[in-house]
Amino acid sequence: MTLAQAPITPELNFECETGNYHTFCPISCVAWLYQKIEDSFFLVIGTKTCGYFLQNAMGVMIFAEPRYAMAELEEGDISAQLNDYNELRRLCEQIKRDRNPSVIVWIGTCTTEIIKMDLEGIAPKLEAEIGIPIVVARANGLDYAFTQGEDTVLASMANRCPKEATTNTEEKEERNGIQKLLNFGKKKEEITATESEYKQHHPLVLFGSLPDPVVTNLTLELKKQGVKIDGWLPAKRYTELPVIEEGYYVAGVNPFLSRTATTLMRRRKCKLIGAPFPIGPDGTRAWIEKICSVLGVETHGLEEREAQIWENLQDYVDLVKGKSVFFMGDNLLEVSLARFLTRCGMKVHEIGIPYMDKRYQKAELDFLAQTCQEMGVTMPTIVEKPDNYNQLQRIKELQPDLVITGMAHANPLEARGISTKWSVEFTFAQIHGFTNARDVLELVTRPLRRNNNLKDLGWNQLVKS
């Protein structure tokens, strides 16, 4: 790893529990990735259990014509009476016929792991036969939690990024959708002028799936510092995957992408910029600073920009200051959120988290420790693979002002007078960068504002204790 700065020794307390906790299945990632990659089709190879999950808990199968489906394994598939290759060919041919995507992503599940279905072996043959790239991602619950599903897909896709920039300019232009957008409608000389706004630096590719407006936003923030992004993994279209050459710098935008980071470093020989994640004004500034510092670009006006954003957040910060928060652990965004909320003046009791890659999250963990020090609060405990039952006992004792939790526990906690916020909302909301910092607090303060609105009702517990 390329860490430019000497680490502060964190005095964080790490624990690990039983892992009897609730979180969404990693196959969830199809819900946002199929939207992000507009020419893709996702095929989840699993059981009725997987399909019913996508349909219900994610509530998304009801929408018109999603570009994903289940390859539902039936008794014959499990007992290996049927030939996996033929079955998958039949389904993929149908998908090609009906939708003709640029790529089919196979999402392996626990079941394909257990029956040892050789997806990696089958894919190249079938790809050659039907003429559509097939990317295989083992987004199974045996090895991964919720958001890590995206990590498995991006790690797999990293291997498909072109190795050399094509010389054809037109094609290159098409390849880089964002750049095109930013230059849209400008004449060639104007583009050259725009190019000159950038500093000279090594190529930089960012990884992590973000909604398009957030991509534009972060791209603009870096552009303000003269940093040009050479590509995003994933891009809006599979056919626009960024060129990645040996020695390129890469930086992640999300804490759950450690496998993708590793793949980019080991397989594509990229240099990883280890930075806190661009969540909250503090995180965004640190992320930009770190990138600039590694690329040798001097920053300007970042401190003022951060200060101005904090000013805009003041009304919400006033609401959370002095309040306490407990993360039950769900989406691996917990450390970044805890760090931002600590900076806002909250006290963090516990950071439950499904999985902790201390190397990939090192800069964020250091930043958390530093923030706690600066804010004069005690270091929270980080509980990996938490035990929900034990956590509920601790919550009962601690009576935090806010619990950030999965969907299964929110209503029962509310009925007991404990305010909650769904962790999953942070996964889907636009929370990255300076501009969106307010949206994070919009979510965090909602239960607190609700409590204010309803405080005269005379009740907040709805079960007999």
Partner: protein, 508 residues
């Protein structure tokens, strides 16, 4: 003259006929031209009434005009008296025939001479009062008529019932969910151990009106209908009344506590606190809903409320106090009772609008862009045009306000029904919330509100492209907020940078 595309309250004679035809065995004679008798159509079609509407028109045509209508009106009254033997015949003109300035009192006196039943003229000025006021007046008039008649004969029964008892005043045909509200109120009174002495005018016999004073108190669920009668009964017979509409958990509790007070003042000994606690926490799901995650997502959303006084006031209080929703505008078309509306709602909402002009309300809604509307059928149509969901909470009535399934607005089951209405209005179920958190990817099905007319500002192509990425259902709002921001700062071009600056500044 007033250019009118729509009206909220009907003409006076509709109010009079609602009262007359609610009573049992009362017939109304309308003295009016052909075509003014559509009350019968409304009652028959909207209430899906199995019986013939007891209203007959004594038709005024060119010949009658020429000859004078006295003979015809009297003939028709006497004839109906013979045909159907009603206890009472109520004569009413309409806006039209009231201009003729005939001595209808005299017609009635003449007709009375040859009738077995009673005959009265509904005493209402058809150009000064609307349907609601006329109904209130006619009900008071009939109550007074029979109590005075009874007083003369010494037959008014003033002996209080042994157990606490109530008269429910104001349940009427063609009232907004009156039938279901009445069933819920009967259940509530039974739960409270209160006997029902009378319900008027719904299915009541006018002959029984002299038993009204037997009740311990009068209960007026709707401010628009019954207050005049209650005040008369208070003045003449010292009967206290409760006029708190039991709509929403908070107001229902307040209403029940007021009832307890009234009963205990008369020597009763009731304590309803345990009942209120149990109903609020266990029977009604509204209190729990307000704490649940579904409701949390409504926190701070903007709503507009418009309706009659009773429903607009109660609904605003529910939205604000019980659900944490921001009512940016509350309004009523009951101009004649404006002071009460203002007094009740001033602490609860940003703006108050008192108006009978639907165009004014429509414009206010378009400007405020609330997430939901709670109004009348008219606001529902405004909402449809603007792509804003609307829950209907008040008359003018419509076939959809006469559901066959049980849908009260009052009492504890009412709180459940209202919760569904609010929840479904705001989010159309979980669906829309999911759409929102998933970034509105199902944009094909989302109602898009047309972006307002071309502005004077220049959007760069990048900014325009960015705007188009915003989900349809909030795009208009983002556009307007951005333009407002740009105008205030004298930018004449909207770039990506301006868009983000606007977002950072106003949370657009």
């Amino acid at each position: 003259m007033k250019l009118a595309y729509w009206m909220y309250a009907g003409p006076a004679h509709i109010g009079t006929l609602r009262i007359a035809s609610s009573f049992k065995n009362v017939h109304a004679i309308m003295h009016a031209p052909l075509g003014d008798d559509y009350f019968n159509v409304m009652r028959s079609m909207l209430e899906r009434e199995r019986n013939f509407t007891p209203v007959t028109t004594s038709v005024v045509d060119r010949n009658v005009l020429a000859r004078g209508s006295q003979e015809k009106v009297i003939d028709n009254i006497v004839r109906k008296d013979g045909e159907e033997n009603p206890d009472l015949i109520v004569l009413t003109p309409t806006c039209t025939s009231s201009i003729l300035q005939e001595d209808l009192e005299n017609f009635v006196s003449r007709a009375q001479l040859n009738s077995q039943g009673d005959v009265i003229l509904a005493d209402v000025n058809h150009y000064r009062y609307n349907e609601l006021q006329a109904a209130d007046r006619t009900l008071a008039q009939i109550v007074k008529f029979y109590l005075e008649k009874g007083a003369k004969k010494g037959t008014v029964n003033q002996e209080k019932t042994a157990n606490p008892s109530v008269n429910i005043i104001g349940i009427s045909t063609l009232g907004f969910h009156h039938n279901h509200d009445c069933r819920e109120l009967k259940k509530l009174m039974a739960d409270l151990g209160i006997e029902i002495n009378m319900i008027i005018p719904d299915k009541a016999s006018v002959q029984d009106l002299q038993n009204l004073p037997r009740a311990w108190f009068n209960f007026i669920p709707y401010r628009e209908l019954g207050l005049m009668a209650a005040e008369h009964l208070q003045r003449e017979y010292g009967m206290p009344y409760v006029d708190i509409t039991p709509m929403g958990v908070v107001e229902t509790a307040r209403c029940i506590r007021e009832i307890a007070k009234v009963i205990n003042q008369q020597g009763g000994n009731v304590d309803y606190e345990e009942f209120i606690e149990h109903q609020t926490m266990e029977v009604s799901e509204a209190a729990w809903f307000s704490r649940s995650i579904d409701c949390q997502n409504l926190t701070g959303k903007k709503a507009v409320v418009f309706g009659d006084n009773t429903h607009a006031v109660a609904m605003t209080k529910i939205l604000v106090r019980e659900m944490g929703i921001n009512v940016v505008l509350a309004g009523t078309y009951c101009k004649y009772d404006e002071a009460w509306f203002r007094k009740e709602l001033e602490p609860f909402c940003d703006n108050i609008l008192i108006s009978e002009d639907n165009g004014e309300i429509a414009n206010a809604i378009a400007k405020l862009e609330p997430s939901a509307i709670f109004g009348t059928q008219m606001e529902r149509h405004v909402g449809k045009r603007l792509g804003i969901p609307c829950g209907v909470i008040a008359a003018p009535i419509h076939i959809q306000n006469f559901p066959i399934g049980y849908k009260p607005f009052l009492g504890y089951e009412g709180t459940n029904q209202i919760t569904d209405l609010v929840y479904n209005s705001f989010t159309l179920g979980m669906e829309d919330h999911l759409l929102e958190i998933f970034g509105g990817h199902d944009t094909k099905e989302v109602i898009t509100k047309g972006i307002s007319a071309d502005s004077d500002l220049n959007w760069t192509k990048e900014a325009q492209a960015e705007l188009n990425k915003v989900p349809g259902f909030v795009r208009g709002k983002v556009k307007r907020n951005t333009e407002k921001f740009a105008r205030e700062r004298n930018f004449d071009q909207i770039t990506l940078e301006v868009m983000y600056a606007a977002k950072e500044s106003v949370g657009a």
